[in-house]
């Protein structure tokens, strides 16, 4: 009978996605127990939001999820618009869609880099982080910031697109499509990738449903659930797309699902740019932010992030500040319910790529 020992993975560990820690108990090098230890990025967003005007929260919300901030802005804006009963202009819907999908592309390329890095392939991270940077440059043009865009706000978007931006987005889409051939060659069609991930960290369909998984984990297990399709927001209702699914539910399937989602996002960007009204307002008339009050009510607004369902539960009490905002990050469930169970039985060497394969984003559950 072997003796078990405890090991902290994180917070200062190269294999952990962000400032976060997992306490694992090992026997030999097999995990017998895993426990997430969050809180290193806790900034009390939900508390801070209660003390700020609706518009001031614009500065806070993107910071809830750093790799893909726009989903927060969109979900927050949708919640406020829902409570106020505001319909946003058509063009704003398309711009939101493009921005959200571009953010997803940036996030997925970023994810690919970190996933490949945890498997020991640093070339892909050199490539994909570099390619992601061009997407950040595009964001930089529309809103003047690379990471925290604060571009989507209640009522629509903050500015109309700069001239020629759509073309540059299409150029970028084309560029990424070309690069994806190389990505496939070096990583997704690499035999090493297959051997390291096939059959690893399986979440079956039944488990995924029981544990409340969303996003790629659920799709990789064979359930085509996607907020973009089920409860269309922005301009997704006008676009034509299918949700990719795979059946195995293992690490490989999740990686491939993200690879397919990247294709889907690029396709959606092209569709949205094509269908977007060329002119028109991009922001509804909104009340003075210092006085504007939001009628009392409760609402739940959700969007599809690259990790799954991302939602804002917002309660207003007829004042200028939200009464309570609860943020649902997809990683919350993925970490504390799924990862803790899936990690059991893994080898120590696989812990960190399993975590990245589930796409754990600590700021989302620390808030």
């Amino acid at each position: 009978m072997s003796k078990s020992y405890e090991l902290f993975i994180g917070p200062n560990h190269p294999g952990i996605p962000g400032n976060f820690s997992v306490k694992i108990e090992l026997e030999g090098d097999t995990v017998v127990k895993a426990k997430g230890d969050p809180g290193y990025l806790h900034r009390a967003f939900e508390k801070a939001m209660e003390g700020r005007y609706y518009i001031q929260n614009l500065a806070l919300i993107p910071r809830i999820c750093v790799p893909e901030p726009d989903i927060n802005e969109a979900a927050y804006a949708m919640a406020v618009e829902d409570l106020m009963g505001i319909e946003i202009p058509e063009r704003a819907k398309y711009i939101r869609t493009i921005v959200l999908e571009l953010a997803r592309v940036a996030n997925l390329t970023f994810w690919m880099g970190s996933f490949a890095a945890t498997l020991g392939l640093y070339t892909l991270s050199q490539w994909s982080f570099g390619d992601r940077d061009y997407a950040l440059d595009l964001f930089n043009e529309i809103c003047g910031a690379r990471v925290y865009h604060m571009f989507i706000w209640p009522g629509g978007v903050r500015r109309d697109l700069p001239p020629g931006w759509e073309d540059r987005v299409l150029d970028y889409v084309k560029y990424i499509k070309e690069r994806l051939v190389d990505y496939d060659n070096i990583f997704f069609k690499n035999v090493m990738f297959k051997y390291r991930t096939k059959g690893m960290a399986v979440v079956t369909k039944e488990q995924a449903i029981e544990w409340g998984a969303t996003g790629p984990i659920l799709k990789a297990a064979g359930v085509a659930q996607d907020v973009r399709k089920d409860d269309p927001y922005a301009a997704y209702g006008y676009l034509d797309f299918e949700i990719p699914t795979l059946t195995d539910g293992d690490s490989w399937s999740r990686a491939m699902i993200r690879r397919m989602e990247l294709d889907l996002s690029l396709d959606l960007i092209e569709q949205a740019v094509k269908k977007m009204p060329k002119k028109g307002p991009v922001c509804a008339k909104m009340p003075n932010p210092l006085k504007g009050i939001v009628p009392a009510g409760e609402t739940y607004a959700k969007v599809e992030s690259a990790r799954g369902e991302h939602g804002f539960y917002m309660v207003s009490d007829n004042t200028g500040k939200p009464y309570r905002v609860a943020v649902r990050g997809a990683s919350h469930t993925h970490m504390f319910t799924i990862a803790e169970k899936v990690l059991i039985g893994q080898r120590l060497a696989d812990v960190s790529h399993t975590l990245v394969s589930l796409d754990i984003c600590p700021p989302e559950f620390d808030r």
């Binding site: 200062n12 962000g18 809180g39 801070a48 050199q126 982080f129 570099g130 990471v147």
Partner: protein
């Protein structure tokens, strides 16, 4: 060799030190998001002789990338104390200076230099890669001129730092 004064030794040491700085790979806050582009192909900070490194014993630079949660602060102090002299701290963005956007948060410390000494600050929320590279170059200049003496201050004013640390960490 005997003729060289201590000052001359220090000058030469500083000259050498600044040319090979290893930063510890610890993402304490959201500013870390701009580090991957800085490290990888697009901005490639290895041009400057910088490289990310995973263990605290071997690292020279500690980046406080943004806000510092109280819970993280405890780990950061451990990491900082584990690092060997000379060691340098760069505070990223608004949060390390005065709390930033989390100025009213109960969980985030407001001034980095009350707990560990910082050698350089970068403005921005978050600082863009160009600013990070500028900061590294500035830090090299500071090392060269011997002004980056945070680790000495930490030793000298240990009582002050420990007192402040005790206050928030309990």
């Amino acid at each position: 060799m005997e003729k060289m004064t201590q000052d001359q030794v220090r000058t030469i040491a500083n000259m050498l030190r600044k040319r090979s700085l290893w930063m510890i790979h610890y993402c304490t806050g959201c500013g870390a998001m701009e580090l991957p582009p800085t490290m990888t192909s697009r901005y490639d900070m290895s041009r400057l002789g910088l490289a990310p490194f995973v263990t605290s014993r071997q690292a020279d630079i500690l980046l406080i990338t943004g806000y510092l949660n109280v819970k993280t602060l405890r780990r950061v102090i451990t990491v900082y104390e584990q690092m060997l002299d000379p060691k340098y701290v760069i505070g990223f963005g608004s949060c390390a200076l005065n709390g930033g956007v989390y100025w009213d948060s109960y969980a985030v410390i407001k001034q980095l230099d009350r707990y560990i000494p910082a050698d350089l600050y970068i403005a921005g929320c978050m600082p863009r890669p160009e600013a990070i590279i500028t900061a590294f170059q500035d830090l090299m200049d500071l090392i060269d001129s011997g002004k980056a003496d945070g680790y000495k201050r930490y030793k000298r004013d240990l009582a002050y730092y420990k007192e402040n640390q005790r206050k928030v960490l309990g």
